[in-house]
């Protein structure tokens, strides 16, 4: 899966990101944030709500360049993004939404496989307004993978879903992601979600955001049943009570 022209690592260094309010007040959201993202691994950034995770991801996606530092995403790298809301185009069908951003070599077979994998095969001719939030999220997931991304960014992709739907979608994400290994960064405030998905679990401290520690979870994702997750959770809770209590 090594692609020509894409280096083996994405390097993110944000020395400082400051918001200036309308009244001139300054709020530093991120300071001295450094992270190497290993290729074809799932890096999960975990921190409390409102700690600047979304800001971080927007910077990595290239949506915000007003910060001090450097995001080393190679020129021409393809990016797939799953936002907190599905952000589908309501005037385009599900199929058109996916094909609009798809990689040049994304074939009809690819679409069929992907639609089947995330369970939206019957929804392709529909418009997004006809879909439930859970289904719309699946479409957004398929769209992110349709770019055949060098870098996949997921911003709390399963927030505000009921736990059963969210859990099904997490398993779906793992399935598609394992079949098409991709460098991925996911942010979440949900500890169990983080433990289920992460290869590297990056714990964040808030205001201004910086890295507390990077934990590598050795157990393969496929073997992380509820008991395994609970065991890892207990272990982490003991070592980083500030990050895992209250959740």
């Amino acid at each position: 899966m090594q692609r020509a022209g894409v280096t083996s690592q994405f390097e993110i260094r944000i020395d400082e990101k400051t918001y200036v309010g309308a009244d001139g007040s300054r709020l530093t959201a991120i300071r001295d944030f450094v992270l190497d993202v290993a290729q074809e691994s799932m890096t999960v950034l975990m921190g409390p709500s409102g700690c600047g995770k979304t800001t971080l991801l927007r910077i990595v996606a290239g949506l915000d360049d007003r910060f001090v530092g450097k995001v080393n995403v190679p020129e021409g790298a393809r990016i797939g993004v799953m936002f907190q809301e599905p952000r589908l185009l309501p005037w385009r069908t599900v199929r058109q939404n996916i094909e609009l951003v798809a990689a040049p070599d994304f074939s009809a077979e690819d679409l069929e496989w992907l639609a089947q994998a995330v369970g939206i095969a019957d929804m392709l001719p529909r418009y997004p307004q006809e879909l439930s939030l859970g289904l719309a999220r699946r479409v957004a997931l398929a769209r992110a993978f349709a770019t055949k991304p060098d870098l996949l960014l997921l911003d709390e992709p399963f927030v505000s879903l009921d736990e059963r739907t969210a859990d099904r979608l997490r398993r779906l994400l793992l399935e598609v992601w394992s079949a098409r290994p991709t460098t991925a960064i996911l942010v979440t405030h949900n500890a169990r979600e983080a433990i289920l998905l992460a290869d590297q679990l990056v714990l964040l401290a808030s205001r201004p955001t910086h890295v507390v520690t990077v934990e590598t979870i050795a157990v393969p994702q496929a073997e992380r049943d509820p008991q395994a997750i609970e065991a890892i959770h207990v272990d982490l809770l003991e070592r980083y009570p500030a990050n895992f209590s209250g959740r």
């Binding site: 927007r58 290239g62 936002f83 005037w91 609009l100 418009y127 307004q129 960014l153």
Partner: protein, 265 residues
């Protein structure tokens, strides 16, 4: 059983009333009132619908009513295209750039409040009694309305979809076609709706003041002859043309553009 039957009957009834039947009944009612009023008045100043329709038929077969309608329609379309093109470009730019908006806003307010008649007279005085001055004057009357409407549209663009387009590196053309224009569609529809009706009224004034042909010229001519039948005939014929454009062109296009909306889940 009988209850559900009654309910489905009621549903049937409202469906008939909501169809084209009620529109046709409404138009028939208008013609009836006109007919009765003309019968009571019995005056050359208020001819009935039969006389007017006869005039339209006679003039379109033997006279040049069709030619005059065509000339006016061409002026309406030309002014409309010019006004929509310039107005929407300026409106979008002003909606997206606060700096440009601050520069152009005073001009816009002046233009909005300048009477149509003043613009027409000045255009004829400065540029002569020609086609370009006529069409330019009409377009200039409409442009500020288009700007105001499209500026609102540009301000209401969804920043979430904009971020999506940027994150997925859509090309400018693809973004315009798939993300921006569909969001502006209701604003284009509103601007063209009010645009067509406003423009054709102003075109008549332009023709009356400085053109040797068109519906406005004919109305002026027949006003001097006190030929009310001709005045009503020309008016009715052109209103019919505008209604045809509304029902056969504007509404189908709009239905096509909004087909994704309000689909049952």
């Amino acid at each position: 059983m009988s209850l559900s039957l009654a309910r489905s009957d009621a549903g049937q009834g409202t469906r008939i009333l909501s169809g084209p039947v009620i529109s046709i009944l409404s138009v028939a009612g208008f013609l009836l009132v006109w007919f009765i009023a003309a019968e009571i008045a019995q005056s050359r100043m208020l001819p009935g619908p039969v006389a007017v329709i006869e005039y339209i038929y006679k003039e379109s077969v033997h006279g040049d009513l069709v030619t005059q309608l065509g000339i006016t329609l061409w002026r309406v379309i030309a002014s409309f295209v010019v006004a929509m093109a310039i107005g929407s470009m300026l409106g979008l730019a002003m909606g997206q750039s606060p700096a440009l908006n601050r520069v152009l806003d005073p001009w816009l307010i002046v233009l909005l409040n300048l009477p149509a008649l003043v613009i027409i007279i000045l255009a004829y005085v400065w540029f002569g009694l020609n086609e370009a001055a006529a069409i330019g004057a009409v377009a200039l009357n409409k442009i500020p309305n288009v700007i105001v409407t499209l500026r609102e549209g540009a301000r209401a663009l969804d920043p979430g979809l904009d971020e999506m387009a940027r994150a997925y590196r859509l090309s400018p053309w693809s973004k315009l076609r798939n993300v921006t224009l569909p969001q502006l569609q209701p604003y284009f529809a509103a601007a063209s709706r009010s645009g067509l009706s406003l423009i054709w009224k102003i075109v008549l004034v332009v023709e009356l003041l400085g053109r040797p042909n068109g519906v406005g010229f004919e109305l002026h001519l027949n006003f001097q002859l006190f030929n009310v039948t001709a005045i009503l005939g020309y008016t009715l014929a052109f209103v019919a043309v505008m209604l045809a454009i509304e029902y056969l062109l504007v509404q189908p296009i709009e239905r096509h553009a909004t087909r994704w909306r309000n689909k049952p889940v």
